[in-house]
Symmetry: C2
Subunit: 245 residues, 2 copies
DNA sequence: GAGTGGTCTAGACCACCCT
DNA sequence: GGGTGGTCTAGACCACTCC
């Protein structure tokens, strides 16, 4: 039958199911046996099986679809460079993937999320652009960016259609500094909807602040990605140029 | 009574509890009402209350202790610089916190975690040092580092007691390159034990590869932190020095 | 209509903590 | 002993998908 290392039933079931997925016993894309049959096989109630399966959802290896079944998810993860100057349409193509962007909303908002605090955001209203970035048709980032309100509509459109780096370059703006705050977080409401992930699903966030040569032009934002869709890479120099001691 | 926006009971309860915590109605450090009384108040079964509370655990705002109650967690998050050259004992002190390190294990292992793949790890056995890093007495990082096997014991001890950057400097070794892969992930087994966090709790991971002037001396490793304990910050230059086009 | 997963409940039992 | 949260169960109902 099943592994019986622990004393808690749903944990034993969870571990055993995970083992079967990892070992390939349950194949990617295929449906697991129904909760009813698993219940019979493990000799525990159907509810306990469901509990175990639900607890596996945040690991990203399973996805349950009501009325259909529970499936082993395939996971393909994209790796992006942290540097915004390299994050562009051209860069995505270079990596061999087809990027696309879908505008979600254009509003005027203040930055209220306390996660921004270390970036010292302004207290006033800003243009808020929300968009979804796809790679090869699959959504990989949910981006919320805040721009100065002094932009004319044509430029705003551009920010909704392009990567921020590209939009700024098209406008002739140059970065002076890029400050990034990287953390993990349970999926936000929007992320849950965008990526159809369950409550509490781990996501990778990148909060940014882009300063430009134009003192009054400063861009803030946050990019959220499901942990299994995106990671980011950065290469640091041998010795820091600026001494912080 | 309670909010009734949705149609799913445990979600309504979850949202309402979250609202109360955020609004300060349930104070930090204080125990929530018992599941029994919440059950009565919301007019749902105790199981549904427990379900809602359990689903809130991965958000980090609650902690349930069997036999005691469910409490509102205080969260204080540390922010570290990504650059390893700045990650040191002295640096921690500068930030006004008291760092300490506790050695967990010293073994010989191969790097098997596929998460390391983008860093191109070697296939052979390495010295594996696992340690827990504390800040002001609270554990904030679980670090697993892999070192060349050619080290003498005295030096190995040093790696167990010090930050990697400090240990390398003490050995007179210089970095030539630091490659970092940052991602989020559900808590590993060790992280769950170390930080006493529940299954599926989001963590921030930093996988690293440190190359040194000594060609044969290369350090790999991964640092895992609960999402609510650590974030990392990095500042990038105006223009990339190296062209990658 | 038969099968699927998701929700909700009542009730029982346990281990734990405090007095 | 009386409180707490955690587990497990049987059984009922629902919405959904597929045939």
């Amino acid at each position: 039958m099943a592994a019986q290392t622990g004393t808690v039933l749903h944990e034993n079931v969870r571990e055993e199911i995970m083992r079967r997925v990892r070992s390939g016993e349950y194949e990617v894309g295929q449906a697991l046996p129904s909760t009813a049959s698993l219940s019979e096989e493990f000799g525990v109630s159907a509810i306990t099986i469901k509990r175990a399966l639900r607890d596996l959802q945040p690991t990203g290896i399973l996805r349950s679809v009501p009325g259909l079944g529970t499936f082993v998810r395939e996971h393909r993860r994209f790796i992006r460079d942290l540097d915004f100057s390299l994050t562009s349409h051209a860069d995505a193509l270079r990596l061999g993937l087809e990027p696309s962007i879908s505008l979600v909303s254009l509003t005027r908002e203040k930055i209220v999320d306390p996660a921004f605090d270390p970036l010292e955001p302004p207290g006033h209203l800003m243009l808020c652009v929300r968009k979804i970035i796809f790679a090869d048709r699959t959504p990989i980032m949910y981006d919320t960016s805040y721009l100065p309100r002094s932009l004319d509509d044509a430029v705003v459109e551009e920010f909704g259609e392009k990567f921020i780096g590209d939009a700024l370059r098209a406008r002739g703006t140059k970065f002076t500094r890029t400050k990034l705050l990287i953390d993990a977080a349970p999926a936000s409401e929007q992320a849950r909807e965008t990526f159809t992930i369950p409550n509490g699903y781990p996501t990778l966030r990148r909060l940014y602040r882009l300063d430009t040569t134009d003192k009054s032009f400063c861009v803030y934002g946050v990019t959220e990605s499901p942990f299994d869709r995106l990671a980011c890479m950065v290469e640091l120099d041998a010795e820091p140029k600026k001494s912080r001691r």
